[in-house]
Every structure is written in structure tokens, then in C-alpha cells.
Amino acid sequence: MTPALAIDTLRVTFEDFVALNDVSLTVAPGESFGLVGESGSGKSTLLRAVAGLAPIAGGTIEVNGQRLDTRRSKAFYRQVQMVFQDPYGSLHPRQTVDRLLLEPLAIHGFADTERRIVRALDEVGLGSGFRFRYSHQLSGGQRQRVAIARALILEPSILLLDEPTSALDASVQAEVLNLLEEVRAARKLTFVMVSHDLAVVTHMCDRLMVMQNGSEVELLTSADLAGRNVGQDYTRNLLIASEGFRRSA
């Protein structure tokens, strides 16, 4: 079976700075794959490189068996979509939800826009009451739902999620995570999800990669992590830290 996403020795540099250093990974269709690591370790850069938003200096990316050019085709964007970290920054401040959702349909020339918009809003649990609101009239969680709806409206097979809940309250986080799981199940999507929160990643993903300074530290399954079965000290430290403050420490 061809992997949904195959990355081989991917390298991204910003001027002289190496943000991603020869990272390789494969994600099977329908799999949910996690990326963890401290701030600046290159997690977002990896996703952006796949999406064509970061300059690729070396290596290859294959999506559903097809190698990507530097210039992405329109067809590519129907396979791969992305949800960004900051719900306050990823929606155009001057556009209504309706307009936001219409845009991808217009670009790709879909005909039955009305039906699709209504369905997409339903799918993310926002009634049509939200359709003509501006983003500033929405809460963080609602915004993130709109962003997810926007990503899904083109019916991609791969969804890239860059810390989709880190800006949200814990209670809202749960709702969004649940929503993501639902749509994944319903649409048989492949997820690549970034988070700095180990708990979130293990909750959502089957396998995960730990990153540091733009390189891979190790590849683990969620079960490994739950069983504290990790190979590297760096990962172990992350694990300990995620358990909260210990007074004696």
C-alpha cells in the first residue's frame, strides 16, 4: 500500500539557519501521526514544508505516491489541507464565515456552494446561525471549528494540524479534539498533528515523532509513551514535565 505521506531527508533552511535537518517519516493512509518537541524544534516548519509554505532545501515529499514539485498544483490542495495553531490569526478579519468557506469553493469551481457550506458548518457543529458572522464575533473554539470546516470543505484526504488546541481553554480543547476524531472517523482522513502537549498527542495519535533542533529524536507509538517505554532522555524529560509541578523537584 502506498503511504499517504512519505517524507525523505527533508531539509528546510531559512537563510543560514537550518530549521529542519534531514527528517524522514512515512504516514499510512488513515493513520494519525503526532509530532512533539519543544518550541522551535521545527514541528510547524515540517507541516508548512509539506503544505508548500516553507522553502524546501533538500529531500522529497510524496503524497499518495506522487512526488511534489516545489510549485504545488491545484489538485494538491484538494488532497492536503491544514489547520493552524492560532484561531485568532487564521481567519481573515474582514470576511464572514460564509465568505471564508466560499473562497475555496470558488477557487476550485465547485457548483453547489450553498449546500456544501451548510453541510460543512453542520459537520463541525456550528449551526447556520454562525454563517454570516465575522470572526471577531466568534469564540476561540468556534473559530477553530470554522478553520476545520474550511479545511474540510475541499474534501482532502490528509489534514495537517498545527497545535489546533493550544490556544484554547481545556474545556474547549476537549470539544475540538472530539470533533477532530469524529471527522477523521467519518471521512477516513489521515492526520499529521503537532502538539507540545504529550497528553494531547497520545490521545489523538497512533504513532509520534519526538523532535529537537530540527531533527528527529525518536519515533514512538502512543502505547510506548503510556508505558513510559522511551529510549531517549529528552523524551523522558518531556514526560516528567508533563505531569505537573513536583514540590521536591
Binding site: 519543544e38 518550541s39 476561540g140 481553554d169 481545556a170 474545556s171 474547549v172 480543547q173 476537549a174 470539544e175 479534539l177 472530539n178 476524531e181 469524529e182 507540545h196 502537549d197 504529550l198 497528553a199 494531547v200 497520545t202 490521545h203 489523538m204 509513551l225 503510556a226 508505558g227 524529560n237 518531556l238 514526560l239 514535565a241 508533563s242 505537573g244 509541578f245 513536583r246 514540590r247 523537584a249
Partner: protein
């Protein structure tokens, strides 16, 4: 334990064009030389509570309280100058994000010295020495170097330490920390908390620790206040978090994913209108 701060029926409201927004609606608590955590979701009024105590409520905001007393001083009656003299000297506050809360065009050293000199008449050399000591106390390895650095030249964790040093250099009795670590990486977060913990213990300060992370607060503080929509819905000792009674508190605890616990879907918080009453 002597009481340091007494708050009774604190209310903060903001007149806006669409009506009056009540950010804090009758909050009461007392604080001794202990660590008090305030948790609650975004917009629940945690920060405004802290700022009201500091006297940093935005100008058009209105504060009322039956009692707002800091070690015998009635803060509501105190003049502007008196309050200013208290701030930084006896009550201090650490803000969330060092990236925004340090003055970008001043060296870290100068900003620390400035606090000191605003409250005490000390010579330049003396002030510098005390600032360096303070930097060392927040476990900065090379204080001499960091003293002359600008905020953008240090990492987030380092900046937050500098912020703490700046706020503690005049030896306050009460420290309000408003989400002091939520902008930091998990590993760094713990280090900073460790420092705070030690300073509070050593200097015998009172601490109000504001955060939205229930688990973090309960592991760090002695007592926890849970706020919802400007009110306190529950107050409990940190250790008894597991036995929280209020459904809001319970919901907050439950909805977080846990490593190893396989809960699909996650339980979600079902807000009840009566909580806000």
C-alpha cells in the same frame, strides 16, 4: 498565620457602549503568607481580580469592595501616591509573557535597578549589586552578562526569570503572578515555578498564582480558588482537588486528556446557566 490581604465582595466593572461589563462580581478571600491559586477559564475575571489588588485596573474601570485591605492599609482609600509606593515595594506582580512585559529598549539590569531605586535611596553601585544578587537568586548563571542584555536577547525562560527578579528585588510581601509560565515550554515552566516556589518559601511572601491550568495550580499551591464568570464557585485546599464538589471544577479536571487513559471521546464541560448566578 497572619493575614496579609483581605478581600471582601470585590467588584470590577467596565462601562462599555453595549452596557456595563462586570468582570469581577463579588469576590472574597483572605490570604496569609501562603500560596493561593486562582483558576478558571478565559474571561472568568482572574486577571482583573489580581489587577484590582495591584491598583492597575484600567482607568475607566470601576472598583468597589466591602473591604480591600493589605496588611492593615485600606487600599480603596489610599491615595494614588500611597498605592504607587506600595506597588513593586510591598506588592509585586509578574506578568504572563516576558516578550511583551519587559521594556524592549532597556537593558534587563536597568529595569531591575529601576524598581529598586523607585522605592529606596540606594547608590548606583549598591543597586547594581543588589540587582546582580537578585539575578543570581533566580538562578541565572551569568548575572553580569545578563544584566547588560536587552530583553530580545534572552530566551523566554530567562526573560521570565528577569521579570521575577525585577519584581522581587525590592522584597515585596505579596506577589501576584498572573499566568507567569503559560508562555513558556513545559520544561522551562517547571524551572521557573521551582524558582518561585523557593523564593516564596525563603522570603515568607504571600503568593497569588493565577493560571488556567487546574492541575498545575493544584500541584503548586496550597489553596485553590476556582472562578467562573467573575465569581468564586469553589475554594479548596490543593490536595483535595480530586474531591472537588462543584461540577464546573470537576468538568475542568475531567476534560483534559491524560497519558495512558484511553477516553474517546473526551468528556466535555456542559456549562449550566445557574453557575453564573
Amino acid at each position: 498565620m497572619s493575614t496579609l490581604l483581605e478581600v471582601e465582595d470585590l467588584r470590577v466593572s467596565f462601562p462599555t457602549r453595549t452596557g456595563v461589563v462586570e468582570a469581577v462580581r463579588g469576590v472574597s478571600f483572605t490570604l496569609g503568607r501562603e500560596r493561593l491559586g486562582i483558576v478558571g477559564e478565559s474571561g472568568s475575571g482572574k486577571s482583573q481580580t489580581g489587577r484590582a489588588i495591584m491598583g492597575l485596573t484600567p482607568e475607566h474601570g470601576q472598583i468597589t469592595a466591602k473591604k480591600l485591605e493589605f496588611s492593615g492599609i485600606d487600599l480603596l482609600k489610599a491615595s494614588k501616591a500611597q498605592r504607587r509606593a506600595l506597588r513593586g515595594n510591598r506588592i509585586a506582580m509578574v506578568l504572563q509573557d516576558p516578550k511583551y512585559s519587559l521594556n524592549p529598549v532597556m537593558t534587563i539590569g536597568r529595569q531591575i535597578v529601576e524598581t529598586l531605586r523607585a522605592h529606596e535611596k540606594v547608590s548606583g553601585a549598591e543597586a547594581r549589586k543588589r540587582a546582580l544578587d537578585m539575578l543570581a537568586a533566580v538562578q541565572i548563571r551569568d548575572p553580569e552578562r545578563v544584566f547588560d542584555l536587552y530583553p530580545h536577547e534572552v530566551s523566554g525562560g530567562m526573560g521570565q526569570r528577569a521579570m521575577i527578579a525585577m519584581m522581587l528585588v525590592a522584597d515585596p510581601e505579596l506577589l501576584i503572578a498572573d499566568e507567569p509560565t503559560s508562555a513558556l515550554d513545559v520544561t522551562v515552566q517547571l524551572e521557573v515555578l521551582g524558582i518561585l516556589n523557593r523564593l516564596v518559601a525563603e522570603r515568607g511572601m504571600g503568593l497569588i498564582f493565577i493560571s488556567h491550568d487546574l492541575r498545575l495550580v493544584s500541584s503548586f499551591c496550597d489553596r485553590v480558588i476556582v472562578m467562573y464568570a467573575g465569581r468564586i464557585v469553589e475554594e479548596l485546599p490543593a490536595g483535595e482537588l480530586a474531591h472537588a464538589k462543584h461540577p464546573y471544577t470537576q468538568g475542568l479536571l475531567n476534560c483534559m486528556p491524560r497519558i495512558g487513559a484511553d477516553r474517546h471521546p473526551l468528556p466535555v464541560l456542559d456549562r449550566k446557566p445557574e453557575w453564573a448566578l
